[in-house]
């Protein structure tokens, strides 16, 4: 099983400005401190191993889109702006013989999670099959509405792929092209759904974004601990600090890095991927949040260590 992150930012796509890139280059040159490099590979080693991730790279700015490679068809969580590069990449794989069946799983239908679909090139391929799974009964309405003329020049009816909407029910186990899929209702405006994917070899990935764990409902977190149970990877909404999530950003529908660690600890999950990054955060802010989360995991650990990674656009995690 391979998990590929195409979009990891929350709420709104962001892109680095010229000033941001210049600052990174200036800081890299200062860090190099006059040294010379024996070719590109040597320079790349310096960037990858001697600069921090935030200094030498970027977490990216596309909104949520995560591919799970496990079996002949595609499995994709959410259709944020990261869907566009995934669609183009998948067309290359299709030319090499990959199945043109796309199984999508929608956490919910807010704009940042569906905005990639009008730019999803395989939707124009008459040989493609697109199944959009969602817990929401009004998923089709949301997708058709965003392609009405007032919002977008290409209407949904012009798409040529075979498109089907499939409603999933929490508490039931669904078999989708060899993948076992379960879903859980989460707290978010208009509701959101988390997913538990189990492949044929028993590897487990949880996708739980846009999920607020309410202060006055801590007792129901037991359901999430069970849902996350023994997962190999938990991709979790960690948009805010805990303090923000219970104060000025309470009821904004998102969670914190600390709650994610606690849920994963109790669920005995192996790896937590911090996800749905706050769009106002610079790379340095996200990196700091990552380091702090690693430290919190160490301070509160009672069982086996939880590997805490920070998702970025382009990250691949093999399980």
């Amino acid at each position: 099983m391979l998990v590929r992150f195409w979009g990891t930012r929350g709420s709104l796509p962001v892109a680095p400005t010229a000033a941001t890139i210049q600052r990174k280059i200036v800081n890299a040159l200062i860090s190099a401190d006059g040294r010379t490099f024996d070719g590109e590979a040597d320079a790349r080693r310096f960037v990858e191993h001697e600069l921090s991730f935030a200094a030498g790279a970027t977490y990216g700015g596309a909104t949520p889109c995560v591919e799970i490679e496990a079996g002949p068809s595609y499995f994709i969580c959410d259709m944020g702006s990261g869907l566009r590069p995934f669609g183009l990449d998948s067309m290359k794989r299709n030319e090499a013989g990959h199945s043109k069946t796309y199984n999508f799983f929608q956490s919910h239908l807010h704009w940042d999670h569906i905005m990639g679909f009008p730019f999803f090139a395989p939707a124009f391929d008459p040989e493609a099959t697109i199944r959009i799974h969602a817990g929401h009964p009004d998923a089709e309405e949301a997708f058709r509405r965003q392609q009405e003329e007032i919002s977008f020049p290409v209407p949904f009816e012009w798409l040529r792929a075979d498109i089907e909407f499939v409603q999933l029910t929490p508490g039931e186990t669904h078999e989708v092209d060899g993948m076992r899929v379960e879903t859980i209702l989460q707290h978010h405006s208009h509701g959101s759904y988390g997913y538990r994917f189990t492949d044929g070899e028993g590897r487990i990935v949880i996708y739980s974004t846009d999920s607020e764990h309410k202060l006055e409902k801590m007792a129901v977190e037991a359901e999430f601990i069970t849902f996350f149970g023994d997962a190999d990877l938990v991709i979790c909404d960690t948009m805010y600090s805990l303090a923000d999530s219970v104060s000025m950003k309470e009821d904004w529908g998102h969670s914190s890095n600390l709650v994610a660690v606690d849920l994963c600890h109790h669920a005995k999950a192996k790896c937590l991927a911090l996800f749905h990054h706050e769009p106002t955060y610079a790379d340095e802010d996200i990196e700091r949040m990552h380091q702090e989360t690693i430290r919190y995991e160490e301070l509160t650990r009672e069982g086996p260590p939880l590997d805490v990674i920070c998702a970025y656009d382009g990250l691949e995690v093999r399980l």
Partner: protein, 111 residues
């Protein structure tokens, strides 16, 4: 996790040790509610929570602090976090709870 309530320097003082986590947060929550009630009953305007002997506090415990603060706010009672040990200082900083609560080195420092 164990806690005790006491009155000192015109404040109800909550002393807590052990771990406040998944298994103990409800007991800790009950203790904080009792501390706020006692302060209200005795006409004291302050509850001080001594964090010097805690092993750690997870997000459950931190969120219980917020619940207690809301209860206290309704009675114009303030809550401060007193003498956090090194682990708790780190957790308060990582969670940004040091921005939500007054953190002091001693109960007197609040006065």
């Amino acid at each position: 996790m164990n806690y005790s309530l006491d009155v000192q320097d015109n404040a109800v003082v909550v002393r807590v040790d052990g771990r406040v986590d998944e298994s103990t947060w409800q007991e800790f929550s009950a203790g904080l509610s009792e501390a706020v009630r006692q302060a209200g009953k005795a006409g004291l305007a302050h509850v001080a929570i001594d964090l010097s002997e805690l092993d750690y506090m997870s997000s459950r415990g931190l969120r219980v602090l917020t619940v207690a603060k809301r209860e206290a706010d309704e009675s114009a009672i303030s809550i401060s976090l007193v003498s956090p040990n090194q682990v708790m200082r780190e957790i308060l900083a990582i969670s940004r709870y040091d921005k939500l609560f007054a953190v002091t080195d001693s109960i007197e420092a609040k006065e």
